[in-house]
Homo-oligomer: 113 residues x 2
DNA sequence: TTCGCATATGAGTATTTACTCATATATATT
DNA sequence: AATATATATGAGTAAATACTCATATGCGAA
C-alpha cells in the first residue's frame, strides 16, 4: 500500500496516470503530450510500473504503457477515487487537449496506417 | 490530491492513521503505542493535519487528534480503501494490541477518572 | 512566580527523490 | 555492418524528507 501511495505522491506521475486513464500510450506520445523529457517520462513510467499501477509491452522499438487491470481489480476503491479526482485536477483538460493535438502527428508505429 | 498522497506515502504515518481509525488519541498515547519519539509523532501528526486528513483539539496541555470528518466525506472512496488496507497491513494487529496495553496506563487527562 | 508536564518547533544529519544530460541497449532499415 | 530511432539507465546536482536531540512554548499545579 505505501508503495502505491509513494508512486502517486508526485504531480508528474499523476499527470501521466490521468492521460493513461483514457487509453494506453507509447513513451514518445506521453513525452509529446506532457512536454516532458524522454528520460523523465521513462523513469516515472518505471516507478508506476514497479508499484503495480501500470503494465507495459514492447512493439519493436516502441514501449506502450497502460493501467494494470490487476491494479484496478485489487484496488477498486482507490481506482474509483483516482478516476474522479484526476478529472478534477488543474492540468487535466489542458493535458487532454494537448493529447488530441498529438494524435494528429504520427509519432510511433501504432499511429501509422 | 497529491498533498494527500504525499502525506500517506510514509509507513509511520500509515501506522498512526491505522490506530486513529478506531478512536481519537492524544500525542502521548500514540508515542507509547507505536514506540516513537514524541517529536517524531508530533511532526507526523502535523503533516497529516496539514494535508487535511486529521483534525486536532487541545485540552489543557494535551493535544488530541482524530480523523477529519470532512476528509471522510470529501474522499469517501479513498477512506474506504484506507480502512480496508490498513487493517491488512503487517503492523496493524501488533500496534492495536500495544494500544490495548497502553490504555491500561494513565497517560493523559482523558484517561484519568 | 516557580516548577512540572505535554507538545510544537529549531537545527543538524543522513537518506531519498526529482530532474537533467549523456549514453547504453534494443529494434529496424539500408 | 553502418545508420537511425526509441527507450532504459548511469551519473551528477539540487531539493525534499525522515529522524534525532535540544529547547521554546503552552498549560496547570503548587
Amino acid at each position: 500500500m505505501v508503495e502505491i501511495f509513494k508512486a502517486l505522491a508526485e504531480e508528474s506521475r499523476l499527470r501521466i496516470l490521468a492521460i493513461l486513464m483514457e487509453d494506453e500510450m507509447c513513451v514518445c506520445e506521453i513525452e509529446e503530450c506532457l512536454k516532458m523529457t524522454q528520460s523523465n517520462v521513462s523513469r516515472h513510467l518505471t516507478a508506476l510500473k514497479n508499484s503495480g499501477i501500470l503494465d507495459s509491452y514492447k512493439k519493436a522499438q516502441w514501449a506502450y504503457y497502460k493501467v494494470s487491470n490487476k491494479f484496478k481489480e485489487d484496488n477498486q476503491d482507490l481506482w474509483l477515487y483516482l478516476v474522479k479526482k484526476l478529472k478534477e485536477s488543474p492540468n487535466y483538460h489542458k493535458d487532454l487537449d494537448e493529447c488530441q493535438n498529438c494524435k494528429r502527428i504520427d509519432l510511433c508505429d501504432v499511429r501509422k496506417p
